[in-house]
Symmetry: C2
Subunit: 632 residues, 2 copies
Amino acid sequence: MSLGEEQFEFAALENVVIDDAFWAPRMRVNREITIPLQYDRMKATGRIDGFDLNWTPGEGQRRHQYHDSDVAKWVEAVSCSLMTHPDPKLDALLNEVVDLIAGAQLPDGYLNTYYSVMEPENRWTNLYDGHELYQAGHLIEAAVAHFRATGKTSLLDVARRYADYIDRVFGPEPGKKRGYCGHPEIELALVKLYRATGSDRYLKLSKYFVDERGRQPYYYDAEAIARGQDPSGQRAKSNSYEYMQARIPIREQREIAGHAVMAMYLYSAVSDLVREFGDEGLSSACHHVWNNLTSKRLYVHGGVGSTRSNEGFTTDYDLPNETAYAETCAAIGLVFWAHRMLQNDCDSRYSDVMERALYNGFLSSYSLDGTRFFYENRLASLGNHHRQEWFWCACCPPNYARLMASLGQYVYSCRGTEAAIHLYVQGSVRLDMSGRGVTLRQKTKYPWEGTVRVSVETEKPLVFGLRLRIPGWAREAMLSVSGKQVDIEERLRKGYVRIEREWSAGDTVEIDLPMPVERVRAHPDVRADFGRVGLQRGPLVYCLEEIDNPAPPHRIILPENSKISAQFESGLLDGVVVIEGDALAADDAGWNEGLYIAQERALKPCKIKAIPYYAWDNRQPGQMIVWLTVGG
Amino acid sequence: MSLGEEQFEFAALENVVIDDAFWAPRMRVNREITIPLQYDRMKATGRIDGFDLNWTPGEGQRRHQYHDSDVAKWVEAVSCSLMTHPDPKLDALLNEVVDLIAGAQLPDGYLNTYYSVMEPENRWTNLYDGHELYQAGHLIEAAVAHFRATGKTSLLDVARRYADYIDRVFGPEPGKKRGYCGHPEIELALVKLYRATGSDRYLKLSKYFVDERGRQPYYYDAEAIARGQDPSGQRAKSNSYEYMQARIPIREQREIAGHAVMAMYLYSAVSDLVREFGDEGLSSACHHVWNNLTSKRLYVHGGVGSTRSNEGFTTDYDLPNETAYAETCAAIGLVFWAHRMLQNDCDSRYSDVMERALYNGFLSSYSLDGTRFFYENRLASLGNHHRQEWFWCACCPPNYARLMASLGQYVYSCRGTEAAIHLYVQGSVRLDMSGRGVTLRQKTKYPWEGTVRVSVETEKPLVFGLRLRIPGWAREAMLSVSGKQVDIEERLRKGYVRIEREWSAGDTVEIDLPMPVERVRAHPDVRADFGRVGLQRGPLVYCLEEIDNPAPPHRIILPENSKISAQFESGLLDGVVVIEGDALAADDAGWNEGLYIAQERALKPCKIKAIPYYAWDNRQPGQMIVWLTVGG
């Protein structure tokens, strides 16, 4: 189908340059440190060698059901990185890994290093938690990225053979298995494969998986019985399959539920299908669930998933800070989903969420030096929660690497003679405006400063519409075109200012997004944040670390009207704007051994200092807090 | 050994009368409603019939490892109740159950309805979580209570035979098993059996179990290996046996850890042994652990155990409210332990904690009508946590029943010519003062009013010391003896005023403990309560329920200096003093679909009403909160 009026295509990664002082250095660390380190860790743990089906695990190595996808995400990360930053060493590593992957494909197309070796007899017998189709999905995504980056079809052909085989095994037709994977992922991968190849069997298969999900009687029940097991155990464990968003069909879903990463991947695919099929039922479910998520279940740092117990969602407004799960992969999944919603409907409600997650709950996951990462991104810590070098279940690190390497594609969109800028990042994009090349160039110190200068480069003057996002946090935005003030209110639609005119080379748009320090409050039903404020400046959520403050951050009180101000510190944490202010600290002098007393607490005036949340836990360990107690 | 200078004996239950308007009606409900209901539930679920080893479980019934102790606690409850309130019907039920229990004893003395029938070959093979010695402990406690109440030795003889057999099986001597039970309980039961029978083999066995606990190599490891299992699984599950206070020997323990009920029972036994042996090492451990518990890990309502995950302790100052576990049995166990510490050392630090638990986190467990109970006593609720009629694991209800029926023994102590009043409860006690009978009579409307009149009844004038507790919450206490004011400061020692004089019949002590409504604050390191206050009046902790308030309690803010006052409402919740005051409520008008905003919150003045915590969830379901946000 053709694109709807509000539908955009995101600018392809290879056409985007990011050369700012904020993201570009992180992307460089990603390429030069993180991606090679991940290769080493995957090599050491047998994840890479495992693609040799004759390989024998050494000390500390083994085959595992989750390993293939770790490698696949890494292949995707390297491919994306090569699209913008050619690197012979990485290219060589990539070739080696791609060859290994291709070599693990069985004659019938099947490719799974765990099942092929360890449990060949159990292929497709446990979609509930065997993760086979999930692994396949990541291989397909990797193949598409590899093809786009290198033009080579070596891995794409492998993926197609595998997908063709899967299409022969699964589907509504008689004789096929009517199953779908416990962990969604292949659904969005198949849409990518369809778009890369034009073969609509992949699109149909994706839609089948989505439509089948949650249908009763449950396939997972039937499958368990076929394995000789009582399905009541897995039903209880997964809350009647709500854990994997399969309790009821997707068209009936109204709340975000279950495992957060699964939910994000699933709804990303659903958004893709909404775009491809214009399906009203799926679109309606998407909107209801999105609204539930963003109005009741989203952390201020863009993380999602409140509890470790299901790695996912609980109830409305249940957003504990110290025990927040907010898995890195879930923030990444939210970026995927928001990005897809945004291409379907150019509305800043999606780009605001995408920005919130990117600058905070996603960026926090890796240490500044690119060597250690958080699986969980908590909003308060006693000083005992730190980034690790690797995890037994290592889904998050290569997921970070692939999103970081592909960041460019989240910045701009285009359709016909209409362009949109979603994120303010210094750099440029080459756009094809109905056959005419146009370059948009951003100059900005975002997120430290809110001034952005967009200049247009075009051979000949061209009429096109340019949409510029006015972030939800920017309450006093100003905008001028080639020096002439524009009335934002008048031109604002869905959070974007649209300027349609004949643009000539050298035309500029100046955007000024003032960034006062703001005290953010959560909805009063968020019990964990009631009576508290968060500090935010521009897109960045701040936190207090013990090292910068005169008292443990949990004991600090920020009076409603105390002075706070922001300044750039070039020597701190690779250069950050810090927030400083006047506050009060509760003292425990006089408590002796007491736990509860009836006296008013003793408060001492003090100076506090907050740093961007993403940069916490890069220095000496100590307490950290995002939500500060109000009062005084 | 002889008693130390500060050691007391608690007044025996049969010598204490409670005839007040607060506890006496609850004790009557316990006798007339709760205990018979528990019998019915235990009958219906097979717990009672299970003592017939030939019994075949019917629909919904089964044998289970935990069942014997439920019945044993019930036997103890009935026995205690009969000591103060003879009741032919209960007596008949008791006889029936005691006969059944006796009939389940095997010729060698073993008595366990689960293992004897279901796994006879596995007797004593899994002390780690088989709970056999725990069950035995409760049978022994029941037997001692039954003996004291009825003078019959029928059950005591059974218990002795069982204990003698256990003593032959366990111990440090060659050929015996060097094990100890995963769930402490038998240790304190054996001390009771020693005291009831005078046979010190039980005392020695108790001491053996306590001394052996936590010794390496671990018995639980050896036992697992003997079962053909790898002990690493159970080690990981129980955090190197910390779950059952067995990671290190008790003498080395400094922090309260692991399962809360286990810990309370264990330290109760350790306190008994300190008393019996004057053991410095055990005494020191007891004090360190007590201090850690009460200064860092005790809820304001006297509950203990912060999390469901281990039904126990976590870290210092980690006292979440909405997810508090605070199992009823743990509050009961804390009363046991505090009571023992108090008899060893007449210090109000113990009786203050005992009172806190009794009036709040213990009393809350049963509904006012005595039919439903809480296993978990949370300090905040969204309105979805309610008392239940019964639980699969029903340790708490009969534990409540036995403590409620034996409440009298927690009120007074005596030694030689020295008496102590720990709790203010209208009623009386007959004391033996070195051979001379003295009756102390309390007249009071405690806990609603703080005036207590203690009158002395004695045939002839007698010199004795009387200690009267000045509760920690009573900051303006006044005391007069037969009309003459006493300087409390001058006579206060360890929280008790001591008056030694020649007492004659008709002498009175008037105690006035003013009960202003107090705003209680938690130590600033208790993150969950920071910026919050609790309301307390006298010994009672208060809470806000949604039904009494104009806004959901989570949204209410109590300004530091707002007016609050207390008044008795006879028609509410069987008659309670309520607290009313001026506060502010946060509104969600204007939030639309927003979750985070940068505006100051909208607050509306409102009137609030708080009820005693113990009485919550006796009306329409709704939100409940103990800790109110401060601010304004």
